[in-house]
């Protein structure tokens, strides 16, 4: 088995310690950081993403796999910067104002990072202004909003409105998701894309960045 498929398999199984060791030994034996990232870490995370989409694995496996992937990415990060490896695109995401539930948001972040996107995590309870200002300052292509509660989902309409007021609505795509959110709601508030799960959100974001 190649070192890449070994890394990939251990990401899938969520074995953080093994991933760290394998990534280090791959680096030491002269493999390029970009290859270790793409063929090893991200490929493992992608497989988990596909299984997740098909309901073959569930949230716990994704969380654990992502933790293993991130441990590997941390080792590669200085090398990737040194080699000037570019990200697929830049996204800022957070849960909307009033909402503190971040498991779904974190899943989306992990899946997006698994697709090679650069993600700025604004955390929970993020104001519409903060979303929009971050997107402008950091030059993000996409704003991603998550809400778990019916009591907070209306904040997403506010994010769309703020992006219009700031005059960046044509430059920034707005993606939304979360348990109570639907495609119908997405159309109603004038957001761009709704996805029903974290893996689809990552796929859609990659498409939007093309």
């Amino acid at each position: 088995m190649s070192i890449y498929s070994e890394i990939s398999e251990n990401v899938r199984k969520g074995r953080m310690k093994a991933v760290k060791e394998l990534v280090q030994s791959a680096v030491d034996s002269g493999n390029s950081a970009a290859d270790i990232l793409n063929l090893g870490l991200l490929s493992g995370m992608n497989e988990i993403g596909e299984l997740f989409k098909n309901n073959e694995v569930y949230v716990p496996e994704v969380l654990v796999a992502a933790r293993a992937m991130n441990a590997g990415v941390a080792i590669l990060k200085p090398l990737l910067i040194q080699d000037n490896v570019q990200s697929v695109g830049k996204v800022c995401l957070g849960t909307v104002r009033g909402d503190m539930h971040d498991i779904g948001k974190n899943l989306v972040k992990m899946m997006m990072e698994g697709k090679g996107l650069e993600v700025i995590d604004l955390g929970t309870d993020v104001s519409p202004e903060n979303f929009v200002n971050t997107a402008i300052e950091q030059n993000c292509r996409i704003i991603c909003c998550s809400a778990l509660l019916t009591t907070t989902m209306d904040e997403m309409a506010e994010v769309v409105k703020q992006a219009e007021i700031a005059g960046v609505r044509d430059k920034v795509k707005i993606m939304i998701g979360g348990a109570p959110v639907t495609d119908e709601f997405c159309k109603k508030i004038g957001a761009d894309v709704y996805t029903s799960d974290a893996a689809s959100a990552a796929d859609a974001a990659v498409e939007l960045c093309k």
Binding site: G14, P60, L149
Partner: protein, 462 residues
Amino acid sequence: MHKVNINGKTVLAPHGQLLSDLLIRNGNAVEHPCGGKGICRKCMVRVNGENVLSCRYKIETDVVVSIGDNAQILSVTGAAETGRLSQNNCFVLDIGTTTLALALVCLDDKKVISVMTAVNPQRVFGADVISRIEYCRNNGVKQLRLLLADEISRMINKLDVGKKLPLFVAGNTTMLHLFFGADCSGMGAAPYTPAFLDIQNSTGEELGISGVGDIVSLPCVSAFVGADIVAGLNFVGWPKKGKYNLLIDLGTNAEPVLFSADDIVCTAAAAGPCFEGANISCGMSASDGAVYSFANGKAETVNNSVAKGICGTGLVDIVAYLLKNHIIDESGYMPCEKYNISADVYITQEDIRQYQLAKSAVFSAVLALIKLKEITFADIDKVFISGGFSAKINIDSAVETGLLPREFKDKCVCVNNSSLLGCIKYATENSDLSAIIKNSEYIDLSLNKDFADLFIENMMFE
């Protein structure tokens, strides 16, 4: 208008009305834990002999509906310490999100005469507090308040005391808002602002509750730490000097409170509704036919009936059994599609994953509090487990499945309804709760960096 026959009684319904709305309006206790989104399948009834989800079924013709016999009063039991009716009695009420518990207490000898429990009738508007807050935000609080007041009147009427008595009330912050008819919309989203936290006074006349004179509620700490927790602390007592005790209320929200005599930290971790059976394939509440225990491959059910589903304590036992017998591995992976507990009752891979999320939320919340106070498990003297769940939980299974740390194995005390018991203590001893309120600090786990890591670390069964 269509004629709808519900269990033999005919009512009229406008064309297109949702069956669940009609059932609610007519006082039929069909549960809607998901708040009518059509995903939990718990509101299944039979229409013209076929199973339908009442929250999705529109009435478009005359139909015959049959719903299972859903007895509202769960139990009427004499409590262990039986007092007697004298000149000096009172009622004590705990308003749980799921269950109401009412005690008749003799203040002279400080003893409980009887305890009665019933389903919280607001449950048809959603199992969790957020669904109910959302309902009130859209429709006002009056309907839910009256539903509760009527049910309490009915319970009090059954106790047949023959005169008006004072009533002491505990419950979580949202339930107290719904009881007094206060605006709860501020608690629907961060920063979670309640309309009140202090002790409230009212009368039975004012709230439309018969058989009740003056009404006093216990104080709350925050939107998440209500009078139920304050009452619980009042009941369980303080640890030895230099030690901490832990009180965990297990439900949809697990609410661990770590406390010493002068230092109280509490938090709320969203455990998800799996302990109440809501997002489990064959999940159900601990009612007739629920598997509540599963030891050595043998299921015990409520009332010894044929197994109909799995309640929270049964789930803990089943997961422990599957682990012990290597039917699932330490990552929670189950190679078979489902595992049958009985002919009709089974557990799936997704159920196991739901349990992992819930148990990790509880375990990690406890651990986050312990880290925050820079203490160790050894510094904890006693662990009190409350909630309806606690009466039947097998501590060994809880430990084996990582719901509780191994170190707690011999420290656990199950106190069932600590809120009701603490409220009774307040009524009989006129306890001073001001120290509890003053010394309590609420920790928001979503802002706690440790918690996010711990939550993932403790997900597996290792």
